[in-house]
Every structure is written in structure tokens, then in C-alpha cells.
Symmetry: C2
Subunit: 241 residues, 2 copies
């Protein structure tokens, strides 16, 4: 097994991404929900019929694709119109090449479930700033959730025969059950809550006032990020055999 | 005086930017310095003769200019080739319209002084990821430093006559002296160090291991960010009269 697939190393990456995600959500929470930026056509853009935020997302991805972002095995674009990279970088592919990209679901989840949890409802006109935060969070969410592929590959290699049997049966329940490590999940949730408490308040203030309630961030992990990561692991295993 | 110019409100914005800057620098510190991304032409890009990182910076600014970023009084682009905004947003201008933009100096400072302080020297091939962090930090640095215009306007309004006299004399030393509030600066530095300590380490680890030494972040504030903010205040006052 290559270094990058050792579960300890995968966990280090996931832990780093926790910080990016928590920092990102705290940044977004300073603005109101600004729902208009998520509605297709609500802010008219020439030759474009999606939302204002998606316009920024797709533009950002186009630029990032030029610096080679989406040739890496742990990066997945939301948009289909990308540019050719200006640098050639050969990435190692410690996982199997695959076609899994669940960013559509991540985008829906973000707009419909996460934004209402982290932002007060309303319109403060900060459309550009809010969208810039959204793009950062979406990129981190996508990376976190698709990192499930690395988790799945690592687990697969530790018991090829056992996995092959379940995969051939296409037994989703059993696969998800075998993928689940309740102890590890509890550890993630505890850690996320502690980090959200540490980063989400002014360390100099006497009053414990959180920019986002740590319980909310914990809930986003528990109800959305962890299940979608497991879904990615499942989809990857179906293609792995 | 409008709300936004009250020193208390200006300070709130500056405090928020501390978090963005500290979070951003911690993110960048996970990669090596990757000096090649800052060297003009070192990574060949078609029809472009600046550095790889600047290419990403300019591309990002072009996209952000479309969402109206640079029509705001507290935003300043690094590049000159921007796009027309797709939304019309009328910003209040609580400060005098002016031509001050010291991003050239900020870019030099960042590449030559800040990167060597926060990153281990070396090349890990993470050019895209490093550049993405760079763009985030540069945007936050530029906003923080140019916010000096708001500080200067606020101070100017509190003693128009006194300031006019000094400005007409173009007495830089005396202007900087009058702009300096040693007590406030000490407070900023103390706060920055505490935040850098709180955010820069894993709250779950027993070992105090910082992603960036808090003393380094303090030094960046003391030697670079605060002096350049005062320089912006000075330049603004020269145009203010």
C-alpha cells in the first residue's frame, strides 16, 4: 500500500480539511443568506442562465483548471467547461481511475441545507463577498466528501476478497455497514465540535459568543458530510472491482 | 460622521480581517515555499510573461470584478485588466474618492518577506494549491492595509483644522506621529498573538505545536501590516484636503 493510502495519512488530510471547512463557514456566517445569489436567473447575467453564485463558481473553476487543479485525483469540478492546464503535472493515482463526481448533490445540499443553518436569513447586498465564501466552502466540501475514494481504496485493499463478495452482491446496506466505524465517527464529531468552539469565538472575549454554534457544525458533519462521504465510498467500491 | 467611520466600527472590520489573515497564512504554511511560482516566466504560460501565481491572481480578479468586487470603496485590485461588473451596486463612499492603491508594494512584501517567514523553503510541487492560498492572503492583506483610508478619514474628521495644517506642510513625520496610537497598536499585537496561538494549533493535541509560530504572525503585523496601513493613511490624507 502506498503511503498516501495508509488510514493514518488519510485522516491527517481529513483533519486539515476540517479546519478549512470550519474557517470557511465562519467566514460565510458574517453575511446574511442572500438567497437571490442562488436562484437561477434572479440576477441577470448575459449569455448565462444559472445563478450568480454558480457563475462565480464556474469562473473560478475555469481559472483553477488552468493551474491544473482538476488533474489531481482528489479534486472534482462542479462545472463541465474547464480550461486546459498550463502546467503538466503527473499526479500519482493511488486510487483506481473512476468517474464518480457527486458535486451536484453537494451543491444542492449546500444551498438548501447548509446555508440556512449557518447564515441568518435576509439580504444585506453582499452578493460578491458571500459568493466568494461559498466557492471556498464548496471546494473544501467537495474535496472532503470525495476523499471517501481514498478511504474506500484503503479499506478495500485490507480485505479484497471480503469486499469483492459484497460488491458483486451489490448489497448497499451491508457495504455501508462494513464501511462504518462508529468509534472513528464519534472521534471526528468530538474533534469537530472542539475545533468549532476554539475557532468560532473571539479568544479575547469574556462572553462565550459563537459566530456559528458548534452544535450546528457538528450537525452538518453528522447529517451531511459523513453520510455523503460514505456514499462516495460506496460508489467507488462499485467501480473498484 | 456615518456609522461606518466610527472608529469602533472600523476596528470591528479590522478584527475580522485578522482572522481571515491568520487562517489564510496557516493554510498556506502547509505547503513549501515553491519559489518557482513567483518567478516571472519560470513556468511558461502562453501569451503571458508574469509569474504563475500572478496569472492566477489576475484571473481571479477578473472573475471577482464581474461580481462587482472592485467597485467597493474597501477593495483594490492588483491587476489593471478587469471586467465590467454584471451587477450594479451603488456603494456608499464614506471616504473621499481617491487614487491610492499600494498593491504593488503589498505583492513585493508578500513574496519577499512574508512567504519566507511562514513557509519552509523547498518545492513540493503543490503550485496550484499554494497559489490559491496566496491569492486569498493577498486579497485580505490588501483589504486590511487599504482600510487605512477609513481610519484616516475618521481621524481627519475629528480634527479637520489640525490635520489641514500638517497636510499643507507635507510633514510626513508629524503626520505619522499624529496617526500613531501606541496603545491601540499594542492591543492589536497582543490580540493577534493570542489569536495566532488559539487558531494555529490543534486544540486536541497535548503538544503545543504551532502551524506557524505566533511570534512570526505578530512580527508580520508589527513590521509590515501596521506600518503599511499607516503609509496608506498618510497617502490618503495628502489627497484628502
Amino acid at each position: 500500500m502506498t503511503e498516501v493510502l495508509k488510514l493514518d495519512n488519510i485522516r491527517k488530510t481529513l483533519i486539515r480539511l476540517e479546519e478549512t471547512l470550519i474557517f470557511g463557514m465562519i467566514e460565510r456566517a458574517q453575511f446574511l443568506s442572500n438567497d437571490v445569489i442562488y436562484k437561477k436567473g434572479a440576477i441577470p447575467i448575459e449569455n448565462y442562465n444559472k445563478s450568480f453564485m454558480e457563475h462565480l463558481l464556474e469562473g473560478t473553476e475555469k481559472i483553477h483548471s488552468q493551474v491544473g487543479r482538476y488533474t489531481a485525483p482528489d479534486e472534482h469540478p462542479f462545472s463541465s467547461e474547464l480550461s486546459k492546464p498550463i502546467i503538466d503535472r503527473e499526479y500519482e493515482w493511488p486510487i483506481k481511475r473512476n468517474s464518480i463526481n457527486i458535486n451536484d448533490r453537494i451543491l444542492n445540499l449546500y444551498i438548501n441545507n447548509i446555508i440556512p443553518l449557518i447564515c441568518k436569513k435576509g439580504d444585506d447586498g453582499n452578493y460578491g463577498s458571500s459568493s466568494v465564501c461559498d466557492v471556498n466552502i464548496l471546494q473544501a466540501l467537495s474535496k472532503r466528501i470525495h476523499y471517501g475514494k481514498f478511504v474506500a481504496e484503503s479499506k478495500y485493499l485490507s480485505d479484497v476478497e471480503g469486499w469483492n463478495k459484497l460488491i458483486l452482491e451489490k448489497n448497499k446496506d451491508k457495504i455501508i455497514e462494513k464501511l462504518t466505524d462508529a468509534q472513528v465517527e464519534d472521534k471526528i464529531l468530538t474533534r469537530v465540535e472542539i475545533k468549532a468552539s476554539a475557532y468560532g469565538q473571539d479568544p479575547l472575549s469574556d462572553i462565550k459568543e459563537y459566530k456559528i454554534d458548534p452544535a450546528t457544525i457538528l450537525r452538518i458533519y453528522k447529517e451531511h458530510i459523513i453520510p455523503l462521504t460514505k456514499e462516495t465510498e460506496y460508489l467507488y467500491l462499485l467501480e473498484r472491482i
